[in-house]
Symmetry: D2
Subunit: 363 residues, 4 copies
């Protein structure tokens, strides 16, 4: 494709303004339209970006010559808006999660495939330099066998009207776990509670079983006094903490571990030694992940390539969330994920996936 890429953005709520800023400043891209139902918000867009057309009608924007549509609306509207856009031949990027039902996500994937259009989902952390560094550290084998992952995503607020905290925050954790481990989870169990609105979970603890006996535990809360965005990966040789809330020093690698010394004659002589080494904080150049994500979308369209977080990736995440939510509604009953997931679409399958498998085979 030649010339400037014309983009229309639907939704000017929480993510919309950030997307507008990114596309407005990107070279080779013309931000043509912003759509929202709220006239006051459109007025603000018009004032700040006089060159951008605004409308309350999605149809008006879709009827124009925009090449790509970016959807940043409430989750329940993702399917309808994405479907509509794809069917008139637009490339589409949707905020996470792709949809709130896997059947809908399947249909979107199928339409995009059939029409040869790019369908991408905004799993932002996959474009976050710290998470990318974490993935590389794991893939390098430096940590030894991976024992477990503990992820916490907590803060006060940002309740969404139509979803629980699992659907709001877990898309991040699920996409991060699949991306850094290079594997699909085998099963999930989720517990939680609803304190502020009856029936809407605002605190959730979910546990994902991955191959090679790797356990991933995820703590989500809309009701914590401190903002936490932390992923801890514990390996047999080293341990890593990725703290995304930190301005700098997001990744800390601990050269610590347990050394096993087996003594065979008496069980009571079983002996463990600990290795306490230093901590290394690598320098991770950091760009705004949303900017990287938006550029990746544009680049995928331009070069006809598949985005890292394409529709199939989005579909897998929705399937996992659906099962996790079923477990949550049933009080923590463990739900299988294996048959559901299509391993061929694993992010990082192939070379990287192998690398991680290789590490874990050491068990």
């Amino acid at each position: 494709m030649e010339g400037d890429l014309k983009v229309g953005i639907v939704g000017f709520g929480y993510w919309g303004p950030k997307l507008v800023r990114n596309f407005a400043e990107m070279s080779g891209v013309i931000l043509e339209w912003v759509v929202d139902l709220d006239e006051a918000k459109l007025g603000k867009v018009h004032r700040d970006y006089p060159g951008v057309k605004v409308t309350t009608s999605v149809g008006e924007m879709l009827a124009s010559d925009v090449d790509a549509v970016v959807i940043a609306t409430p989750i329940r509207t993702h399917y309808k808006l994405a479907r509509q856009s794809l069917l008139v031949g637009k490339h589409v990027m949707v905020e996470k999660p792709l949809t709130d039902r896997s059947e809908h996500a399947e249909e979107l994937v199928s339409i995009a495939d059939r029409l040869g259009l790019v369908l991408m989902v905004g799993h932002t952390f996959v474009y976050n330099g710290a998470i990318q560094a974490l993935r590389e550290i794991i893939a390098s084998g430096e940590l030894g066998d991976i024992y477990y992952v503990d992820s916490a995503r907590l803060n006060l607020g940002l309740f969404q009207p139509d979803i629980n905290v699992l659907w709001d925050l877990a898309p991040h954790d699920v996409s991060i776990l699949r991306y850094i481990l290079g594997m699909e989870p085998l099963s999930v169990s989720a517990h939680g509670s609803a304190h502020v609105r009856p029936g809407v979970h605002d605190v959730v603890y979910a546990e994902f079983a991955f191959p090679h006996n790797i356990l991933a535990h995820v703590h989500l809360s809309w009701l914590d006094p401190c903002k936490v965005r932390r992923v801890t990966v514990v390996g047999s040789r080293k341990m890593v903490v990725c703290n995304d809330v930190a301005d700098v020093e997001k990744i800390r690698i601990y050269d610590k571990g347990v050394e096993r010394t087996y003594v065979t004659d008496k069980f009571s002589d079983f002996h463990l030694e600990y290795r306490y080494g230093g901590v290394h904080i690598p320098y991770v150049p950091f760009r705004e992940p949303l900017a990287v994500q938006c550029e990746h979308f544009v680049s995928s369209i331009r070069h006809g390539t598949t985005p890292t977080t394409d529709g199939r990736e989005g579909l897998q995440v929705v399937r996992i969330l659906e099962q996790a939510d079923r477990s949550l509604q049933e009080g923590g009953v463990r739900k299988p994920l294996m048959g559901l997931l299509d391993g061929s679409r694993l992010v990082g399958a192939g070379k990287d996936g192998m690398a991680v498998s290789g590490v874990a085979h050491g068990h």
Copy 2:
């Protein structure tokens, strides 16, 4: 009782030296004996405390005129040593947990009752100034309704040869939760994994349901790069974090919360507002909790009073740990606790328990 209290300590491993130091420095107390099977350790005791008698024979110490015995040996030996000591008329303090089987704990409680002896268990955190402050903050009603408690107790190491991480660390969390909430848990579910030694869980996530819809989640690990000892209590009006690893500023009270605004005509107008206020860090005078605990033991003997963490308290904690361990072994099946527990022995039942109940009734 008049005159100096004579004390014998059994076990000079991890806690033993700390107990020896505390009793050696306490006025009105004579540390008479230290017992350990390891001659080298006894040599060190003799060198540092020339006035203290040492022996490898528990019988020799029990045959002496010591008034009280302090037991700081591996858990599987607690029952036998405590029973033996009580039966020859000694007051007894046992390191936590009281025993590894509730039947054994019941028997100890019964013997102590019958013989009119003090039986106390070393739930140290109940004697920790920060945890005491946390209990007072909750009891004051300042936090509003209690929504949930999240507790994390993590570090690298201190594997014990004969128990898993639940029996090693959860006695702290269980005694803290009962103490600060002033209630018994209704049920427990525990998940976990064993990475270093087959069959011995080194990472556990346990969830306790308390009355009034209060959820308590506990994360335990022997395999984390960072030492964490943190209890977060989230209420409807305020939130508190108690960080015991901090040297100072262990308690932080966040004046934050969710304000519910109901709009009746349309569900979609349901509206939440957040209140973001300041943080208050009260000054909490801090003494070594073990010193407070040891003095409480001596004072209970002297005045014939029941220790805050007496045998019945220790028994309740063992019953809870047993059920939690069963859940862990069965992959997280929720286990009831209600019938098992004897509410009359709740720490802080009565005035304080009422206060907390009162708060929670606001639900």
Copy 3:
């Protein structure tokens, strides 16, 4: 003044893009021109803000109907550009420091006065919510007598080609000190060293004597591994730390102090007691200080009012910096400031100034 205010910005280096973004998004303002000598930078402006005219000629912009000019160029050019702009009737906001010579600053003040134009200097921290809160805390008398202020402004980098670290960073500290204390310094002494470029100080320690025996110490460095922006104010009753690098919790008020107990008969009985109380972290709503500053400039023009950091304020700061730099060049010789400064233009003179004086009179 009615209608939209038309603004031209000169300089698109470090501050320029931030200023462009702020004025572009402000309602009631039209960003008309951006001037820079670098065509590539202008290309970027044109791409992101197609409605803004760009030029390499300051004259072309000054010949237009812009109402106000914002100058964000190297310091040595401030005087010439500001003078030129004022003389053709434009209101002017200049990045700090106003000029590099006090004679030049005096002339600018005089021209602006004569022509009835707004002349403002960008002492950003005066528009920073945390510094404003700090000023209020001091003015309230809550801290007791002010003993001393310690300010540190450190990081690695941002060397400017034509100035030393004093001229680069101390405008912040000097404007903060005058603002929060509501007084002019009486004298200054500065030491430092030049490690990277001969003759250009990159590390400076300056000490300002204020009335009432208040000492202010300022540490500046372009060569520190950690980014530090911290002001500590020690009073006889309480102490405050303002940490501008923190994302949240920028202000901490320590309820600590020394209690003096005089015993008259023997000097050796002189006795001090310490009061160790809690810490309070007030909630300080925070807006981007540059946005507040830009709005204040526009509002001053619209309503014909004097900006808080007007030309006279800028002049005082330049006079202080000049004396500090002389002290630095002479190896720390203390330089008087009293006669030089025009107390009538003290920020916050009057009610606030009195309040602080009142506090300090308690000595």
Copy 4:
């Protein structure tokens, strides 16, 4: 020397109890006597250490067969007590600073020399694992040329009745600087203020010039809300921060620096680039520095070797403090140190001193 070393300790105030504990627990040492004027304190010693003799008479202790005397009394008494002890043939360790007048320190050094006795001063930080690691990092040349050192030693309290904050805290900084740089300072300038007691400085900023253009700045305060014990060393290639208040991770090595790129034709093309690399936190095994120090004293007596912080080292520090105090009293006038100091007694002179010189010669 054979058999157990008999030790007497004078003074049971702040350091006394820590010294008593260390010598009581050291093998090969018998703590024979504790001397204090306060009977109540002696009662406590007697209770905790029944085997130790107590007295209010220094003479009684000196008349006994103790081999070594440890002096932990107010500074003004150091000279008299140390002299008295040396003259009756006892080895002596004195708390820092050695004396409050250099003539007195000279006399003590001379007596110890003449009588062949060990005279040691308790510059504890020289026995601190983190400071030892810092010295090794500097000596390795890893930091490049040393540009400057910034040291801060702040807290609320511990006013001593007879000295100012310089004499109280700066012995630490002066001994640390000499130890880690392996050089004597060339001159000193000190400023400060007295807020709580007239004439007794409680806040001091001192600046030491070292060879090779190395500047060391020291900030001391008895009036700061936060406890700070931090040494920052900035080199041309790397930078190190040693934070002694941290429980772990006391040393952080920043792989950051300024890269100079000279362009010769135009001054304006002078160009600096920054290198932003990772942070490394080495694992530093940590033992209580006072224990290391006490063992070093005993070992020096046993083997007839010179302690690292012997009387001459103590004398140099007193000379430096005297000049710093003169500068402080004269409002910051720079005082020379060169002629005063006896370079041959520099800690680490010889191999290590050379190593550091070598690094610095790179200037």
